[in-house]
Subunit: 209 residues, 2 copies
């Protein structure tokens, strides 16, 4: 990574969409290689952006990494919100639909990429307190949204009222991240399908897994 | 990493225990830093072993990494076998006991290290087919042993006979790996406790989570 120079000599303003392209390339490279092996030179080259423009949007590589995480979080949490707001389905069906779409997403990436939160959590938790706490914030928000869905499911009698929904939501989220991890090692959809089946038929459903 | 020189000029045989020390240091460093950031120079320095002795035991760094994984697998699968052979407990209690001891182990490491299989699976699955397939073999063996325990539980009526134990075993293992991953991000035992509670009281137990 280069020095933290101020925006370069060029006086032209960065073109609209430059930040978006940088974030897209950064997300792709960080998903594929992790944070440490995602070099700024490579990002700039792939995005066809000059260093000066980069520093117009990001203070340094860490700031870039955090903004990539935030952008990914907005996208994924937005997708979750969209499904959870679908009143044409019962609460647990909404959540299941979110995970089913996420499985299709992983399939389209040939089970190679995984989840940015899990990948960077594994790589960075011990290395950077800034990354660790940001990732923990996002995962806690996920957990909260899933717990909210479980509460709705309890309210309509879809889930037994004795369930401790916060614990169950944490378990559900962590099991999903574990299934994604195993998917990468197994190079197959099987762990994701096991998750869907056992979680929604067994843990949350009326039938045994 | 240095060149793959043959064992050095020293004619003295490596002292007994040299391989053991190298594996121990390698395991500790790979748990802390991953495979790529575990440098051979650092391993040799910490183990106080000369390069010649190292190449007496290992062909190269990859071979060393694989032997570290195999050694860790023997240790962890041995621990699982020990608990699953404890006929003084019922089958599901044996498995629960294994995970409870594993939680204590993570606690003693201050929730920082995680599981070598999960850590290296995350880091290496996309990078090395040799590592990926070795890790997948080991995780499949884990799954098989857990499924065996579930079958015993079915045989004594501790687990409903309709459960599809292979899927359930995969789910259990992946959920554990996910809980370990989240533990590192949360820096707390909570994800592991959620796993124990929901898995053994809810999924496998008579009571709801």
């Amino acid at each position: 990574m280069g020095s933290m120079s101020a925006p370069g000599k060029s006086r032209s303003l960065p073109v609209a969409g430059t930040r978006k392209v940088l974030i897209e390339v950064g997300t792709r490279l960080m998903l594929a290689k992790g944070y440490n092996h995602c070099g700024l030179e490579e990002v700039l080259k792939e995005a066809k952006v000059h260093k000066g423009s980069f520093y117009h949007f990001f203070k340094n590589k860490e700031d870039f990494g955090l903004q990539v995480i935030d952008d990914y979080a907005s996208e994924r949490l937005g997708a979750l919100d969209r499904e959870l707001a679908d009143m044409s389905r019962r609460p647990l069906e909404r959540l299941r639909r979110y995970f089913e779409l996420a499985v299709e997403r992983q399939r389209s990436l040939e089970f190679r990429r995984g989840c940015l939160f899990g990948n960077l959590g594994q790589e960075m938790a011990g290395q950077s307190e800034v990354f660790r706490s940001r990732l923990e914030e996002i995962l806690s928000l996920y957990r909260l949204k899933i717990a909210g869905c479980f509460r709705e499911a309890q309210a309509v009698g879809e889930l037994w009222s004795e369930y401790q929904v916060d614990r169950l939501a944490g378990f559900c989220l962590n099991s999903w991240e574990g299934a994604i991890l195993r998917m990468k090692v197994a190079k197959s959809a099987e762990p994701l399908e096991e998750f869907l089946f056992v979680m929604f038929e067994g843990v949350l459903g009326p039938n045994p897994a």
